[in-house]
Symmetry: C2
Subunit: 444 residues, 2 copies
């Protein structure tokens, strides 16, 4: 790959998640590169801890530092805020828009890491009643709903109180397991002394999944351990159960035996499926690359788009070897693309195929209890939780956030408080308003 003499190699990165940010940082020392990171949010969201914002443990700032601040000292990188509305593979341009201002950015190399949003499996109307767990908006919305449900129960008649104290989490992957576990902690510990008429410990928490196991990607042993721990916290785990309808007051499920059941529940959390950014479709249409049902682009083994060696697709938007949609796949993908770009600029041999190094995965069930799978090792309980604590502290960006996060964890796990219960009126009412306007709050 050659660059016109005297001009720097222009890299455009789409997305400020793990793939985009770590890809950008991997090019930090390249004086011959100028990077433009285009993202639709001004923050780098540490999604694995989103459930802690939703349940009042952490503030949104702690898990979402400003991308611009993170990259302030990286002089070869600029950040522009905007939603990418078009990628032109022919002209090699990316078009983005912010509040009516349109920006067209030219690239020599493109790293597409726009991630994935929640999928309601074709039932997008569910989203108003069962918000997803993908953005800060989602987390604050759910924070308002979860704490608000207890408030409503306190002043309601018995029937309404029962509905308000029933929480349904759809999807038994890590996010769903962590949400269900935290709602159980809230009702069993945090809120225990806070109410006078209701007993928060009587809250009913259901975790549903169509699959036959909890945490399927962790294997049967850890999935079983997670399930038993959840049940010991009072969470009802219903597997082989599909959601067929959702409304404001509850949902309808279909069990494995074909029977259907209506569950009255005010608060529903949707942690079930993902849909890659619509930019995947844009790339597929222009390049002929295959795009799967979840909107992910089938890339070459070196993470490039077929016929477009200058375009890399990484993270949750990428389909390759059934790799999961986890942070490490995105981080390593972003770094792989950066290394390949550097090799080309240096005239070195291509790095070649992307090899994912599975560093393991972990999920917390409750305080002091987690499951972790690292290479061939399996851990459960307190030791797994310590592993989780250490790994997450390392990956939280910025010393200041590490200190306050550790303090907030102490408040919540050693104590029984929640430092960040504050909710706005907007979180409670805005989604409904948006719906009436026909605007889609989900496509953020």
């Amino acid at each position: 790959m050659t660059t016109a003499a005297g001009r720097k190699h222009r890299v455009v990165v789409i997305g400020s998640g793990f793939g985009g940010l770590f890809g950008t940082q991997a090019l930090k020392r390249r004086d011959d590169v100028e990077i433009t990171l285009v993202a639709k949010t001004a923050q780098h969201l540490f999604q694995p801890l989103l459930y802690q914002v939703a349940t009042g443990i952490l503030s949104e700032g702690e898990i979402a530092p400003s991308t611009r601040e993170v990259l302030a000292r990286q002089k070869n990188a600029r950040v522009i805020l905007g939603e990418v509305t078009d990628i032109d593979l022919e002209a090699r341009t990316v078009t983005s828009a912010l509040l009516g201002s349109t920006t067209v950015t030219e690239y020599d190399s493109l790293l597409v890491a726009a991630g994935a949003g929640q999928s309601w499996f074709g039932n997008d109307e569910f989203a108003d009643y069962a918000p997803g767990m993908k953005s800060i908006d989602d987390a604050l919305e759910l924070r308002g709903r979860i704490f608000g449900a207890f408030e409503l129960a306190e002043i309601s008649d018995e029937e309404q109180a029962r509905r308000a104290l029933t929480f349904v989490v759809v999807g038994a992957g890590p996010t769903g397991v962590e949400m269900a576990g935290q709602i159980a902690e809230l009702s069993n510990r945090t809120l225990r002394h806070d109410f006078r008429r209701i007993d928060p410990r009587h809250a009913r928490i259901l975790l549903l999944d169509g699959a036959p196991t909890v945490l399927p990607s962790f294997g049967e042993r850890l999935g079983g351990a997670a399930r038993r721990k959840l049940e010991s916290l009072g969470v009802e785990v219903q597997l082989g159960t599909m959601v067929t309808d959702v409304d404001a007051d509850g949902l309808v499920v279909k069990h494995e035996d074909g029977s259907t059941e209506r569950i009255e529940a005010l608060t529903k959390v949707w942690a079930a499926g993902v849909q890659a950014s619509p930019l995947g479709k844009t790339l597929g249409e222009q390049s002929g690359a295959e795009v799967d049902r979840s909107g992910r682009v089938h890339v070459q083994k070196d993470l490039t788009l077929p016929g477009h060696p200058e375009v890399f697709v990484v993270g949750d938007m990428m389909a390759l070897d059934d790799l999961p949609g986890v942070a490490q796949v995105a981080i390593q993908g972003g770094r792989h693309a950066a290394k390949e770009i550097a090799h080309r600029l240096d005239g070195k041999d291509p790095v070649g195929d992307f090899h994912y190094l599975d560093k393991g995965s972990m999920a917390t069930i409750s305080r002091f209890s987690a499951v972790a799978s690292i290479r061939r090792l399996r851990f459960t309980g307190f030791f797994a939780w310590l592993l989780w604590l250490g790994v997450h502290l390392v990956y939280i960006i910025g010393f200041k956030h590490r200190v306050t996060t550790l303090l907030h964890w102490a408040v919540s796990f050693v104590g029984r408080g929640r430092s960040e219960r504050a909710a706005t009126h907007q979180q409670v009412f805005a989604r409904r308003a948006m719906k009436q306007l026909g605007k889609d709050m989900r496509t953020r």
Copy 2:
């Protein structure tokens, strides 16, 4: 005042601000009292630090602990969330509503401390373009707008960038002064290295007021000192200036000499006037008490409603002896009412007239610089700032919030970071949506 034998004396408190919360806490040791605190937000908002949430220093949780959590150990108090829709002085009931659930609560004594909202002086249509500074919603909305304005400037043409980099704060009381000072700190220090095309230091920050001085309640000497400090930070202070129109792109002002001027500015902050809760009018209509133009109720010298010794009105809703709408007036008013209720239950002589003890007032201009007025003493600069720091740390509720707040202050004042820059999409777009729906985001 007598209570039926065997029945506890029922106190209803409306509002979870300084008056309501401190009034409730003052009755902590009374076994013969049962208190119901009704509030429309689930939090006790520490309003004097709201500007720090708006400018990314603190999280909303740090200045807004859950009222329910604060009162969890006070066994004679219950909290119910809801907006008070009616007070019936005859039947001695308070009616509140939450998401369609209505609650009627009977009282023997009533403490009305519902506070005040922002006033746009009859121009409520200004609110969409110049949000107030009264709620967490306001602060997060302004956080999104302020940081978003720099983002927009970075990708705009020169004219739009100038508009995006012009910030107008209307109202030169403590909130306005603190906001203007913090926006100046943001542009001069925090964001200094964050952008590539724009120089945040070129931001234009205007502080407008119709009055002839900055911080009029602090006296001429401190007002002058505050003004000089603001000007040294680059804030343009325009006094004797009235706002006659506001729109999305700017505002029109009328200067003292009668000339008018249009200022192009994307971000406007309204910190100019207050309007007491509409419950003031309800009380006035039923009791015949005078209600002033700002909706405040003229109370008797013992803070009771004329003809209703069982009803106390305190804080920003109360008009008495020209007392200002500050936290200390509300705190002392709430405690006075609680003491009076206790005296009556004990058959003691009435406490009698409310005597406000002015503990002083203070406002920060920027890091390390404040003005403080305590009794006859006047302080400026670093010493006043240390006073401010100490007093605010004492009044922040909860040890955990004190520790993280101190850390966030260190990050922002010793360092140049802001830990809480995260904004949601809702904050940027919801207000507009609400407007279109004809819903009023201000009456929260």
